[in-house]
Symmetry: C2
Subunit: 466 residues, 2 copies
């Protein structure tokens, strides 16, 4: 969708936005525009013409009605932690920041639910929920907002047990392009009443509507947690172990893999206690201490049977954090150890049985192209991130090409172009290959709900990105 | 949607259907029409004009293209076990039976997935999957087809642990109204690639497309299972126990409630060993025998703390089946003990905290109207079925009115008009009250995907049912 399709944000528009949201909630100052021009990805920044900080759902709806009437692009913004350019206002226009809509609306403790405004960070939410012994499990790492997580169906390391964002939401209020406010889903955990609009809006990356409120599923904070680390000679052995652990009925809460290159980098950079082998990080949650220990015994047995060359496990909270330190800090350690590089993070997912093939292919590409890259995988979900350091535009373009090869391989293996980062800008070019004629159905729905194309233009559809 | 909107099925149409599916796969014989005129609900039967048994997805798509070109209604049919008239061909036309598309296409054991044709019964599927140690957990009771379960988002007693049908599907092939065949979702368990069309088609009751293939999530058959039964003085105490068990982190695999009237009926009719009290039936699954026993100890403690007047538990498979017999056979026992009655089953769900209010309201209505009704609840999900025996049209109309009052109460309490039976015919009139302006979004999607309204007309939308 070319920017020329849209009208510019004029002083009159800014006055109307101020009438809707209040004068102090609208800014066209360069500093504010600069702060909302880029996310955490490598995608080129783009300035919005104006930033608005609404404080109510009705204000969001009124902003959209104005934008729709005047053909102005609108891009929603949580905290800018996206990894695929999802919130970069590539067509300029109005950037709607949810920063001021960051409150808990209601805690429904007996229902294991909480209703929140979209701008609350999931870590801030969980800090406030601790007193109830409940938490919202999806954890993408950064303190992403709940609205951003839902819009992009963010996932993270605990998805193997607790599901992605889409699995942990029951009801949302959504502002449509024409300014209608609708409610989708229900606080009833069972729902068989009409079309599942809830999940249509989740993961639609702000292109069908803006989430203005959400009721989330919570789970009890686990009473007991354990951790285990196991190193293997080969990725194949490690992944065979992943399948065996999942098949055992043990229900791991996290099941992560780093490749040998990543383990070596962590050890060389900061002396992390790892050997140069593919390494699994595991976490287990239990309601009873004894069942935790029995679970670890089963895991140890499985790992040894499948050829683990090293196995460490603990139920002690302090030891557990130490054991997981290398995984939790892997990105920061990598960045620190390459001070002169930028990073570009790939995100594909395949059925678990195809995981060894995918990882083998990544290793082959690294060898063939003679490049450095690190592999971090949510192995329990078949999801992998290849982290590419690069120094300049030429290196970036080469990594992009390699990324494209990895995506194509993932699709060949029955997987997806994006497991948890979303389509945004970078994956739009693969949508036709992944979805075939179903992409036309997505287009028909976009046309039905946003006929003027004002919502987060320049994303998701190949023709929008160009 | 009035039937007059549609064209009749002429001999020429029947010839064209025979050209698509084969002569032996098309019948306008009265006996075949009769067999596809009613489901398990109380809704009035209606004859299709012709029955077609396609054997491939392409045949389904070709039938739809023909029907769309000629403005013929098409109603999909699994096995007729629906409970809200979902598959009754109320506008006549073509009935598409999936009886011949009942094969397993591929077992992906390492991925805990199976790809099936839509006409396979879930019990038949699980029988074939037993050799892999895997099963498809949603269980609505009857041997419903997988296609029907997905189309209606069927659930059942194990949903509290394993989720409903929508939570156990990854990918589907769908034939659209205009004859396009599309694929939605992915065999990757993590997906963040574009709009979630998968869940849009799940639960759409055949009004947006016909499911021609599905890849399902499977789970390992539990190594160890236990059962517990607990009776309480009041429904409030029973439901408080439900909340406590769920909050304990014990993760029950089933958590069912029958009311005192139902317990009495089961005892009086067949001498089932129950007292006249609200009674909870619980089931737990574990990977380790010892953790099962520890879990039961916790459950016993919780039940006693919350005032259980009777508690029985077992880890023995034979005893477990005996303990659950009353719950599993409750419907059949009820029907046998009222040989002169028809039955009408209500299905609403609310947030669990509102469950005592809902149940209290049902009890109040029973008293006020002086009627017999039995309550069976998937209490762990906040879902309840009120089973109304009735003898004649006047009694039926009165029960329908009471049903309406229960639905309104469920909506007031933040719940839904249907937890697992779907909208079909009987719940269409409540869609506006439940969804408000979101119903217009559903209409817009229906219009975008089925502009001629040929797919399962007379269902889901209030204006379609009239």
């Amino acid at each position: 969708m070319p920017a020329s399709h849209f009208s510019p944000v004029t002083p009159e528009i800014i006055d109307q936005l101020k009438a809707i949201a209040g004068a102090e909630a609208v800014s066209a100052a360069q500093a504010d525009r600069d702060l909302h021009a880029r996310d955490q990805s490598q995608h080129a920044p783009h300035l919005p013409e104006v930033v608005v900080w609404p404080s109510t759902a009705q204000q969001v709806a009124d902003i959209l009605r104005l934008a729709n009437d005047c053909r102005l692009p609108v891009t929603p913004w949580g905290v800018g932690s996206g990894l695929e350019g999802n919130a970069i206002p590539v067509c300029g226009g109005i950037l709607v920041s949810f920063e001021r809509m960051n409150q808990i609306v209601a805690v429904h403790a007996d229902d294991f639910q909480v209703t929140v405004q979209p701008g609350i960070g999931h870590k801030d939410l969980n800090a406030q929920l601790a007193r109830y012994g409940l938490f919202f499990p999806p954890d993408p790492g950064a303190n992403a907002t709940v609205g951003g997580m839902l819009a992009n169906n963010a996932a993270g390391i605990r998805t193997v047990k607790y599901g992605a964002s889409k699995d942990n939401v029951l009801k949302m209020q959504v502002a449509l392009a024409d300014g209608r406010l609708i409610t989708v889903g229900s606080r009833s955990v069972k729902q068989a009443s009409g079309y599942d609009l809830l999940h249509l809006f989740v993961g639609s990356e702000g292109t069908l509507g803006l989430i203005t409120e959400a009721t989330l599923k919570l789970v009890p904070v686990p009473q007991y947690m354990s951790a285990a680390l196991a190193a293997f000679e080969s990725v194949e052995a490690a992944v065979e172990t992943v399948v065996a652990v999942r098949g055992s009925g043990l229900d791991p809460a996290a099941l992560e893999l780093i490749d040998a290159a990543h383990a070596r980098m962590l050890r060389e950079a900061e002396g992390v206690d790892l050997t140069d082998h593919p390494t699994l990080f595991m976490e287990f949650h239990a309601a009873h201490e004894d069942s935790l220990q029995m679970g670890l015994d089963m895991v140890r047995e499985i790992c040894h049977e499948l050829g683990a060359i090293r196995f460490r496990a603990t139920t002690d909270p302090v030891e557990r954090k130490k054991l997981w330190h290398a995984r939790h800090s892997s990105y920061e350690i990598m960045v620190r150890s390459h001070p002169d590089k930028h990073f570009f993070i790939n995100d594909v997912a395949v059925p678990i049985s195809a995981y060894p093939q995918l990882i083998g292919y990544v290793q082959q590409l690294k060898r063939e192209h003679g490049i450095t890259a690190y592999m971090v995988g949510h192995a329990g979900d078949g999801n992998v991130h290849v982290e590419f350091p690069y120094a300049d535009e030429a290196e970036y373009q080469q990594r992009l090409e390699i990324n494209g090869l990895i995506v194509k391989k993932a699709l060949e293996l029955g997987g997806t172009a994006t497991g948890e980062h979303g389509v945004g800008i970078g994956k739009a070019k693969y949508m036709a290959a992944e979805h075939g004629p179903a992409l036309d159905v997505m287009r028909a729905i976009k046309q039905a709900l946003d006929p003027n194309g004002i919502l987060n233009p320049g994303k998701l559809f190949p023709e929008a990105v160009g």
